[in-house]
Amino acid sequence: MQGQDLSCIRQDRVLFAQLSLQLHRGQLLQIQGKNGAGKSSLLRILAGLAQPDDGLLYYKAKPLAHSLPAYCGNLCYIGHQSGIHEQLTALENLGFWRAASGLNPADDWALLAQLGLAGLEDVPCRMLSAGQQRRVSLARLWLTPAVIWILDEPFTALDQAAIGLLQQHMLDHLNNGGAIILTTHQSLTLQFQSLVQLELAYRW
């Protein structure tokens, strides 16, 4: 996938212009930048949630407009918001996501236990701590068959153990031919071979 000459303008301020980027299978693209540089805005454009003010996106060398369903089906976007319903339990939230993306039911209990939520599977999510809620929303990365992951500050609120776990999972995904775009202010602790960094300058 590829983006060409992207630009985004928010409140009459040019966040970035003529930005081009490419992402291949097995590649991890880390977008860096100060607070307010436009990282989240860029990710939302890449996820198809917003339109670029200029420029085009390509997926498998075709403009995105033509391959939208294929692209969206292959995408997993996790943003600043959690995407979990506070009244539902972790288990129910997972089941919902599974169904929404057309997957078959599987052993969510084991997954949640793996994520350190053993014993909290059937507690409404609003009763979980900040980090536990984050874990539930990240659990989707274990479910999804999507190839492209777009993660906006996934490490927020997680403790060290969970960060390690998530990075390991990302590594596995890359090795399986996946591609990841992420932003984070914390530095990555594991060794990623195919790490590409893109620096967004904070423009005023």
Partner: protein
Amino acid sequence: MFKWLDPYAKSETLYHFCGKLLPYLMVSALALLLLGNIWGLAFTPADYQQGDSYRIIHIHVPSAIMSMGAYAAMASAAFVALVWQIKVAHWAVLAIAPIGAIYTAIALITGMAWGKPMWGAWWVWDARLTSELILLFLYLGVIALNGAFSDRQVGAKVSSLLALIGVINLPIIHFSVEWWNTLHQGATITKFAKPSIDPSMLWPLLISILAFAVLLMALTCLRLRTAILVNEQHRPWVRKLVGG
């Protein structure tokens, strides 16, 4: 006064105290109820105006009066709970609310069943009837509000506050007959000086009222015990009591 109450604020003591009281209360409530109702149904003369339909009085008036009594009790518990921050009192509020709601429903149903033959309509929009309906809504509001919070403690406190605020409805119900001209009967037995009712009818009625009051206490004890267990389930004494 609260020196005296204090030992009962300890939930374990209160649990056992309620447990001891419960059988006596329950048995005497049921006995009184049966006595009062059978006496009233079969062994008193018919009213010269209303015929035998007046026998509904033996449950209508007790349940109506005690529906208000239950609210008063609930509100006092709420007051104690909020002012002195006594947890058990919060639970008492929640224990009483469903009982009061049922009593109110009984008062409404029996009132309607009495109103059809007497006034010719199941329901009229008379002040007392309406305010009794509002009382039902207040009870339901307390119950619903408590259910609306996923944090049990917060729910209990907020519904106590609501119960306390709703007290202003009690005088409205009681004096509604005097403030608005209505179909409903004025005070007959609550006029202490000279009850304007025949003693042969009065006695079974008084017994029934007493029965409803004792039943209220019994049920409160029972439900309070459950509430204590639910809220104190992590305490060692509960664990030992339930046994695992």
